[in-house]
Symmetry: C2
Subunit: 310 residues, 2 copies
């Protein structure tokens, strides 16, 4: 058995516009790396956090990766412990699933250190314990795609069903993060507790059309369905320039454009040949609102968290 | 050109539990037949209504088939008219899409009488005009599957998108209609105008899981997702014995069981080998509540309305 393993876990776009709290997909161009060393002391400790700076605790109980490993140690009754080095590639509070990625990378690395690795669905539950530290509640719409890869539907919490949904191979995701911070709790707090029946029907129609379009390689159906009538209207005011970024992306040929997770990052889907134009339009729109940004283009092929060379 | 054409249009299960107002599927074992004769007078007239008795108007303006043909004549600027004979196989106010079937059969027959038949999407819009007579509002969740066949998603009204969704071939629908009447308007009037965000998330998760399960032939996912948390709880009290019919179906091996359209018919999905047992359990449960019933078992292969021998 190795005693030292490094895992990479990609950024994720939760919600994907029309799938609030249930859909998410990977953005493999950016992610967190976690290096784990097996230690004989029965504990979890964090040795270092490097990469993109952020207010991340070195106390394992208050750290998503640390808490996920504590949950894993407890559930599997491991006698040994882990020492963690975290290299953040995903900025915090960006809507890119950074807290999920650290937790997922940690459990994937830990699993590779076990003589009897456990099934992915168990890793999912351990990583979710970490996610609770970050968001205050259990949710899987970042964790599940981060672990499984590609576009992923997650149903339920206690006994989650996870389903990977195929995406037409010519589709790319453009992800643009403006240099500002937005807390998940704040973005959640502004949501109304009710949905009108009319909006509910529209959103379900769009969700069903979107998923059908993904399975049947029907880009027209994906584009026509890519419209979140419930969450986006409530959250868009939290992101300066959102409307202009979105209309820029659509004019440049995007299939759809919405808020990544709780924001402020904004994502678009587009076919490969328009991806650079869509990115430029989105970045320019943020610039014209005085916001610098980072951006990535990524395929939506299934590539979840994985062990990588150190 | 023929001057006399008969078309059959199947019964339909609207909503399919988790797809309120957007999903529907055919039940090809039962339907309406409409015989059309081309007449030179520029009018639409109904000569006879036979089959299952019901309070159906012979005035074409107040009859779904008549109104659909009036809409078709007007839009296509036809100089000739139609004389209609309707043979009802679907009882009215049963939740089986009877008003949609008469309208769809009429426009399919009329199209076969035209020298230049029009596209199915136009027929959909004509039939919808007929449906307005019956339900008081435009909706397509019976019309679209009735016309296209199989399981059908419909998004929008003015420029509807219609998507046929494949169903695993071993699935059968059991449809049971108790001998009682329930008006669509009444069943609609009791619905709350809002949905909680929590129920909304659950319902979308189930809908997405259901559609994914259909595309990927995943019966476990279909069964686990087949749970309407929004409409069924509000409507079930309108149908005596609903809970017992549903639990009987599930115990007998159904994948799911819910209200067909606005009810009172109840449908279940099951694999072929359990279909007779599911039917028996549902019929028995109604009987124990003092209700006789009719029942059908049908495949979900795509077979929409079609011209048939007279």
């Amino acid at each position: 058995m190795p005693t030292d393993v490094t895992a990479f876990a990609p950024a994720t776009v939760a919600n994907v516009g029309i799938g609030f709290d249930i859909l998410g997909h990977t953005v493999d161009a950016v992610g967190d790396r976690v290096r784990l060393r097996r230690i004989e002391e029965p504990t979890v400790r964090i040795r270092s956090i490097t990469g993109i700076p952020g207010d991340i605790s070195l106390n394992p109980h208050s750290n998503t990766a640390g808490r996920a490993l504590q949950a894993m140690r407890g559930a599997l009754e491991l006698s040994h412990g882990f020492e963690i080095d975290i290299e953040k590639g995903i900025p915090l509070a960006s809507g890119m699933g950074g807290s999920a990625a650290s937790a997922v990378a940690a459990v994937v690395a830990a699993n590779a250190l076990l003589p009897n690795p456990v099934h992915r669905l168990r890793l999912l539950m351990f990583a979710m314990q970490g996610e609770i530290v970050a968001s205050g509640s259990a949710h899987l719409d970042n964790i599940a795609p981060c672990l499984y890869g590609g576009l992923v539907l997650t149903v339920g919490i206690d006994q989650p069903r996870v389903k990977q949904i195929p995406v037409p191979p010519q589709v790319r995701c453009v992800l643009v993060r403006p240099h500002m911070h937005l807390g998940t709790r704040e973005a959640r707090a502004i949501l109304k507790s009710d949905v009108t029946r009319s909006d509910f029907v529209w959103q379900t129609a769009n969700l069903a059309g979107f998923i059908s379009g993904c399975y049947s390689n029907d880009l027209d159906m994906i584009r026509d369905s890519f419209n979140d009538v419930i969450i986006e209207p409530q959250r868009q005011s939290l992101i300066p320039g959102f409307k202009m970024v979105q209309s820029g992306a659509m004019t440049a040929g995007a299939l759809g454009c919405s808020i990544s997770g709780a924001g402020p990052a904004i994502f678009a889907w587009t076919v490969q040949q328009h991806a650079e134009a869509v990115r430029a339009a989105m970045v320019d729109a943020f610039t014209s609102h005085g916001l610098q940004s980072d951006s990535w283009i990524s395929s939506l092929a299934a590539a979840g968290a994985r062990v990588v060379p150190a």
